[in-house]
Symmetry: C2
Subunit: 385 residues, 2 copies
């Protein structure tokens, strides 16, 4: 496929047709870079809006190889491309960013924990467990049940994660036949995220540390910057994320999801090596968005300013509700709040499905938060005025 | 053509594949609206980045009819669609916004002047002239030569406009066989633009009045807000633009280009009924960009906040220079200024061709202006450090 545009500008190939690719495309338009997408179907979020889209199975190396042939660099909407395929592409001279040796840490939670241990990054107590009895043994090595169990591969947005309160409940995660990681259930006061972007030549920028609120394993709300965060802890979180990015040789955006413990420590929960829900606020709240900086990083361009443009920015996810029509509520939301920034993903509405988010910025945190929550709830249909 | 996306969201059909359609698409992605483009070739600025693009001649009513069949509303990248075709589409029940009765005022400068006269809007002295001798007569009715001559249709970016200093020079504009409008050459201190957006239900918003600098008939630089503008004159300009939008029943973005005269008056130079170069600063400098507000208006959604997000925003156009590669200079520009906002149109570089623009915002006008000018000059290749 020929990718139209100014031929002096590189072609970035993005694998995966979800909303992250959609928003990367949006951020790439002003840069003039040529954007190519590998998607499953024309109805996918990014495929709806990208000019140059190919369709195929990202688990098929031949599909990946054909897609990559006319790309200057390959990057990702999701972390599900088989690591061995990425190694094969890289061996054939294709620029894969982040590379497979970095990305495997976001694909496999067992690999990630071992790697973070090896570089001295504080994590929840953890180990690979063999069976339910081993989970009980793991519990006994610490504070007992409940214990968090995770399949090492394939989980996202709460899928592949269980909080089990006894050995009977510990059986379910083993049914898939995938290795299972046990982790202590951390007694946290809140969740934070440290988002950084790193380029192949080693330049890196850190966004302000944010507070994130999860509901049912899905990011529900993000406040930037994290309110009342001790500056020393904020620095520590940013330094930790920058160190992970460097030690793991990550290219592009890295989200480090953190627990802030009751006793004032931070522990790494998850890593994501792509633009991340905890960074969506940057679209309207930072000088340079995570999407633009991710593209700049994978192209090894100098990175943009990550500083906030407003005192506070709050992002609230829009989940599907009982009503399939989310367009009609625009009338009320936009009339009520002319400063509201809506970001819809073009998806069909299903109850609980992440179909968009809203950003609101301003000087008064309570006001900003109320406006963002109101809009998300109204779009979902859980409130009607 | 089926336009993918959430079927509860409307389809906006944009006629014309230039950079304005490209930036409308970019602004439409977060709204989740479905976007469809009528372009000439896949290499056009907007066609490069829009998923749902049809190709055809906008001067052919059957092409327009087929394109419009699955659109909820039609709007424009340019003003060149024949007025009679738009009337035909409207008569067939297609929502055309702005409508032909409004748009003809942006298509035909003779119609525009007559209309503005009829509603008492201050314009340069003007009349339709029959031949070079009549131009001399027109000059004699006022301050004499030089006189500005414009073909009533088909001009843009300085094309179709002549400043003639005698009757011999006045011959050229008549060669095309199109009616010619003569205007006094206004003794202005600077050019301003008042940008407003109006919806079919009559809601309207006004952006801050900006100062624009033209070079060779092309907008070169815009400063928002216009420095040192008397608040009374600013109000007058905004009220004038809102009145024109209302009296001409304009839907969408209206740019009113103005002369500020030495004796402190404002006179209307040109009208544009679409997003306009003088509003590009809003992409990074206003809460809601002109592109988003244009889309909201044509969909009759409540309009977004037009207020500035920074004390100063400066936009400088990027013109093509002698070097075809504008990507390589990104390295220097982005490293020098991490806050720089680049907007490229994907076009091939030709000397003098408008191929992009940059926006810079901040508190210090001199600094903001220097950064924007430097980036535009470096991208063009007229400076090398």
């Amino acid at each position: 496929m020929t990718v139209a545009g100014n031929a002096n500008f590189p072609v970035v190939g993005v694998i995966g047709g979800g909303q992250l690719a959609r928003m990367m495309h949006q951020a790439g338009i002003p840069l003039g870079i040529r954007f190519k997408l590998l998607a499953d179907t024309p109805q996918e979020s990014a495929a709806q809006v990208v000019g140059a889209t190919e369709y195929g199975d990202y688990r098929d190396l031949d599909v990946l190889r054909a897609f990559a042939a006319d790309c200057d660099v390959i990057t990702f909407d999701h972390e599900h491309v088989p690591t061995e395929h990425l190694r094969a592409l890289q061996a054939e001279g294709i620029a894969v960013r982040p590379g497979p040796e970095a990305l495997v840490n976001a694909q496999d939670k067992g690999v990630m924990r071992a790697k973070l241990d090896s570089i001295g990054v504080p994590c929840p107590r953890h180990r690979i467990v063999a069976d339910p009895a081993d989970v009980t043994a793991f519990a006994g090595e610490g504070e007992g049940y409940p214990v968090v169990l995770k399949t090492v591969r394939g989980g996202y947005d709460g899928k592949g994660v269980w909080v089990v309160k006894d050995e009977a409940e510990a059986a379910a995660p083993f049914l898939a036949g995938v290795p299972v990681l046990a982790e202590e259930k951390v007694d946290f006061v809140r969740e934070l995220a440290a988002n950084v972007v790193r380029s192949p030549s080693g330049q890196a920028v850190a966004y302000p540390v944010v507070e994130s609120v999860q509901e049912n394993g899905i990011c529900a709300e993000v406040t930037a910057p994290a309110p009342d965060l001790d500056p020393a802890l904020s620095d520590e979180a940013q330094q930790l994320a920058l160190r992970i990015a460097g030690d793991l040789d990550i290219t592009g955006h890295l989200a480090v999801e953190l627990f802030q413990t009751r006793d004032g420590r931070i522990l790494v929960n998850e890593l994501a090596m792509r633009p991340h829900n905890s960074g969506h606020w940057t679209q309207d709240g930072a000088v340079t968005s995570q999407f633009e900086n991710h593209l700049r990083a994978v192209l090894d361009l100098p990175l943009g300013d990550p500083r906030p443009r407003a005192k506070w920015t709050v992002m609230v996810n829009v989940l599907g509700g009982d009503y399939p029509d989310m367009y009609h509520p625009f009338l009320h939301c936009m009339a009520r709040d002319p400063g509201l920034k809506i970001h819809m993903y073009g998806k069909d509405v299903k109850p609980g499905r992440k179909v968009g988010h809203v950003n609101v910025f301003g000087d008064d945190l309570e006001d900003v938060r109320e406006r963002a929550r109101h809009a998300a709830a109204y779009l979902r249909g859980t409130i009607t005025d």
